[in-house]
Subunit: 287 residues, 2 copies
């Protein structure tokens, strides 16, 4: 465990670093062991953003550059809390950017390895990028942190049945305009907005942005649908390191059709910088 | 050649099907030969959307489902016109969806294979999806096809230096509001809109949508930048088969920062259906 904690950065014991830690597997270069924590489950599944962060940390160890500039995950089978192995491949190592691939496997009941997730990513060094910012996007209009609704105040009997463990790890406050689904009054606009920190006070960094893009309730709830909204594919562009403090997270769905929907996410930091953009393709709930 | 034309579909000889044809390599299951055509080059490069369509056709042959619902390409090294081999892998074959991976290689001057592009994709059957459409997105507001500007009418001396061969394959008409960069008056809004057909009259299908998301001039031109805007990563969600007729294509950039920019693309068909959404991460031109 000492090794795991050292990898997690200076002996910190915050929940996110501890639960996304990866350990090089002796004798297997590019392979890493991890333990998926039950603390990041929602309904019946391990959260997809948390899983992406575990894979992101393995690729950070394997590649010559530290930061995922663009990372795409395909969710193949349902991950379970418990041991996992991540196998990475360096596809190309360039001067300013490297490309890597990683797969997360777990051992099934029959003793055979099952691939859970496959990721391909381009890594670079965010600190080495030019300073110029010409962003025309504007931060989401939403009430202050104090005027948003804490998930701890949510009434029972919402559309979520099953684990809500991840909510204990998050400091999540939803914009009331996108939270009324919890009392049976979805707005129908397909939006979700909120402030997002980590419950133990750890500030965001590049790896926790991978969690943040998939940490809010699905926009499907705001469309009046209930139940599990499994992510098929998730692509995140990380564009800057976040300033300290909670993020403003904005999710939008504009194309619910054919039983599928996209979820576009923007993450804005306390310095009004658009630090990440993501899009996922998900299967719409049946409800 | 007879085999290639047969694969291209019923002996058709339209340019797109001919130039994206793939031929199974004898004795190497899952491997396909292709010839990248110089007819789809722009500036000094083979167009990234055309390349994605070549890979998309190889995965269609290799996987049990016909349509790429979500496909992500990482552009590793610059493709050249000429022979290429595509090697595919079936990652997972499910009932309604399968996941595949493919890499396109070319042989370098030293006789060694160089990987040009790596793709991961989820394939399904668009015809088998439920009919329900609850899209809240609206088609882009733009003038009629007749009132847009044909690329054949573009003045010389624009920001493009080098090949414009791809323009001879396309029936592209830009919204005048996003075309003034061609006369040195970029709007600065980071948008590009136009009508897009194929010059030989072939109607769009699923595979040509992969071309269409990367076929317009880059939004960087509308931001006043000049030169090559190389795509690092491109993800396309295909949501419906297109109705006949030219597509309306809308490109938007909202986050030019750190020398990188995103390009969001929507494709709308003649039946006002949002048939594809894509996002790419590209390197901003130096100009």
């Amino acid at each position: 465990m000492a090794q795991v904690e050292a990898l997690a950065g200076g002996g910190t014991t915050n929940e996110f670093d501890r639960d996304t830690a990866v350990t090089p597997r002796p004798g297997e270069p590019g392979s890493f062991d991890a333990v998926l924590s039950a603390g990041w489950t929602i309904i019946a599944a391990v959260n997809g953003g948390y899983l992406l962060a575990v894979l992101g940390r393995a690729l950070r160890e394997a590649l010559p550059h530290p930061d995922p500039l663009t990372i795409t995950a395909h969710y193949l089978t349902a991950s379970q809390p418990g041991p996992a192995v991540i196998r990475t491949q360096t596809v190309r190592a360039g001067r300013t950017m490297s490309t890597g691939q990683a797969s997360l496997f777990q051992t099934g009941e029959d003793g055979r390895e099952v691939e859970r997730i496959r990721v391909i990513a381009g890594y670079g060094d965010l600190d080495a990028l030019p300073d110029e910012v010409r962003t025309s996007a504007l931060p989401p209009a939403m009430p202050s942190y104090a005027d948003c609704v804490s998930s701890a105040d949510a009434p029972a009997g919402g559309p979520v049945e099953g684990s809500t463990a991840i909510l204990d790890r998050l400091d999540l406050r939803l914009d009331p305009a996108t939270a009324a689904w919890a009392i049976g009054m979805p707005s129908g606009s397909g939006q979700m907005r909120g402030w997002l920190g980590l419950a133990d006070g750890r500030d965001h960094d590049v790896m926790s942005l991978l969690l943040a893009v998939d940490a809010l309730p699905p926009t499907a709830f705001d469309l009046g649908l209930k139940g599990w909204t499994p992510t098929l594919e998730l692509t995140v562009h990380l564009r800057a390191k976040p300033a300290p403090g909670p993020l403003r997270v904005s999710l939008t769905t504009r194309n619910l059709a054919g039983g599928l929907l996209e979820e576009d996410c923007e993450l804005w930091d306390s310095a009004d910088r658009l630090v990440a953009q993501s899009r996922q393709l998900a299967r719409a709930p049946r409800g």
